[in-house]
Symmetry: none
Subunit: 218 residues, 4 copies
């Protein structure tokens, strides 16, 4: 089952191209980067790229797909496990951050795809990708639903829970991404989570309880 030297080399070249492309796309954006630039960064000829990827589009999709293939199972694991809802959400939150710091570059692309991508790409540019993301959102919603039922999360539409969680996460990552050389700050991460959590927790100070009456009547 071992690969020959040739096969291993091919595999390595494939990865080198993928990485060069990822770096380029993350830095300057899909449209702005030419295949020639990717080739020169990867130290291959343009033609070679086309031996591995049928088109620029496919190259781009492969980048996303490969990373997501690493990321999604971890998330799926977390969300489909037997842990309690709160634990799941908390694990999801920090796992996303973890993943971001593992390859911040990639998140530029992903964020671009999920948040900004409405723009600059013909709809359905990366068909599978959005579906994957929506599946995660669906899972999150389920977890929240259970959490609400069990009284951990407040009785507000699970969709709203998801919106808040994802909003906080994404915007923070975008915020980091905009910085020259972002440095991880775990206190900040913790603060964000607690910010989310204190809103999400069901128990509230007496005086504001009335405000939320009837907010979740679906």
């Amino acid at each position: 089952m071992k690969m020959s030297r040739k096969e291993r080399e091919t595999e390595r070249h494939y990865r080198e191209i993928l990485e060069a492309a990822e770096a380029a796309f993350a830095e300057k954006g899909y449209v702005t980067v030419s295949m020639e630039e990717v080739a020169s960064r990867a130290e291959f000829a343009v033609g070679t790229l086309y031996k591995f990827f049928r088109s620029k589009d496919e190259l781009f999709r492969e980048i996303l797909r490969k990373k997501l293939e690493m990321f999604i199972p971890r998330i799926d694991n977390i969300l489909s496990g037997k842990a309690k809802p709160l634990e799941k959400i908390s694990a999801y939150f920090f796992e996303c951050l973890e993943h971001f710091w593992e390859s911040p570059r990639f998140f530029r692309l992903f964020t671009h795809q999920t948040m900004g991508a409405i723009c600059d790409h013909r709809a359905g540019f990366a068909p599978g990708i959005l579906e994957l993301y929506h599946r995660i959102l669906k899972s999150l919603e389920e977890v929240f639903k259970k959490g609400i039922a069990s009284g951990v999360f407040q009785p507000v539409s699970p969709t709203v829970h998801v919106l808040i969680l994802e909003g906080i996460l994404h915007y923070y990552l975008v915020h980091l991404t905009h910085m020259e050389s972002p440095i991880r700050n775990k206190d900040e991460e913790q603060a964000l989570w607690e910010f989310f959590t204190r809103g999400a927790f069901a128990s509230l100070p007496q005086r504001s309880a009335r405000l939320y009456r009837g907010a979740y009547q679906k």
Copy 2:
């Protein structure tokens, strides 16, 4: 003070082009839309566009500028007034939503500029725009700082407050934007605000107070 018929027509054509361009850019993104497409959507010849705008870039910037000129003063007013911090933030939050529903299409572009723009545009594509946004963020931070000092907002870095608020807002708008034909849901808006608020409020149930100890020591 009245315009001649001709002047009014010119003015109308200018608006028609601007709107066609806005629609196109919002739908497919700056790079993906060709001047020819804008022209055909506006039902003018390509050359005509250049009678109104010196270049594609300028056309794009004009779209952003015009809308921001309507939006920014309203925000500035809110944030620089004499109201209490909580009132200001609340007003800001709902004003943003208000503005979104006035021209949802525009927000696709703005969001793209502030969130996705890292990509696909040479830095400084629309120089003034990011600066304007950062000025608003600065103002928000000041308001939060005062709110923290006066004990309304919890003692967590005002930057974190801003991140959460903006995260919730932006992501919600992006979420709406992704929908085929978004319909306004004021309950949902209220729910989001309360989600933010219950996290942001200083008073907390006894049992979780210890969690936040030391979170804001700058």
Copy 3:
């Protein structure tokens, strides 16, 4: 036979456009000047230009034609008169200079047409103009032929005489034209003429006579 006010105005407008165009073309060259620029210089609308001239080409030709219509008869007069060949050539030489200083701007155009015009215009751009010029060259040649026959000019091909005369004239005018603000220098003009003349005169110092033996045996 008098014109109405209207007719006189029309006539004036025609001239104003012609002059604005001449100035523009002389300054920046035919291709570089747009009709819009001519219009704005003439303080008319673009459409108005087309009331007077069917096309940009025609406008350009009209400028040349009008000036040549003033110039050519003077030259024809000189060359077809009853004066002696030497007097004719001399008169021609100084008349050209005179004409240059009457409208230096025009000479930029004319020189461009006759010397540089091989370039930058599809052949036959200004059909009549080159013919006119060639007719003059022909006349000059005739005069030289007679001068040679009568022993005033040296026995060298009259074509060569023409080449030298025109070369000296044209290059001098081009030289002036290249200067920021050329100032007339009659001594220089005289020097040029004498330079030409001493070469053209038949009588030569003994010692160099042998050099030219056999040079004109056609």
Copy 4:
């Protein structure tokens, strides 16, 4: 030190494009020739031209530069050597003719640059080129100055000498250039030179000596 077959081919293609462009520009002028036309003449696709030259401007400049790099040193050599002034000028004169017949097409371009270029090109289109030409004119003037001092050339402003020499040369070349298929005529060349020379020589027949009194009093 040998080139691979590929390198030689590339080199050949480069030359083919350069030559096609030179021919086209010489025939129809810079502005009138489109890149598409150059491409089709060179039998390449448009895009290919841009692999060799960054822009139309650069392509044009390269044509001039390459030829001038061959031409200028030969001229410099002649004018800066130790020969006597008369010999230098004579050598210059015939060298120019020589060079013309080596690549007549090129002279159309060069003449256009030095004589007609006032028009149709933003000043400084080919920055170095005019400077080079002016340097040559300066050198010529120096040679004439010495020749005048040593009594070989008549006591007339060296600038005038240069004007005459260049006028004769340029106009002759333009004249040839205008012909369908110019054929070299060495007798004619000789006649032109002698025409110049008999004017330039200091010794003159007695009877016209008075004419030149005071002509050169700088």
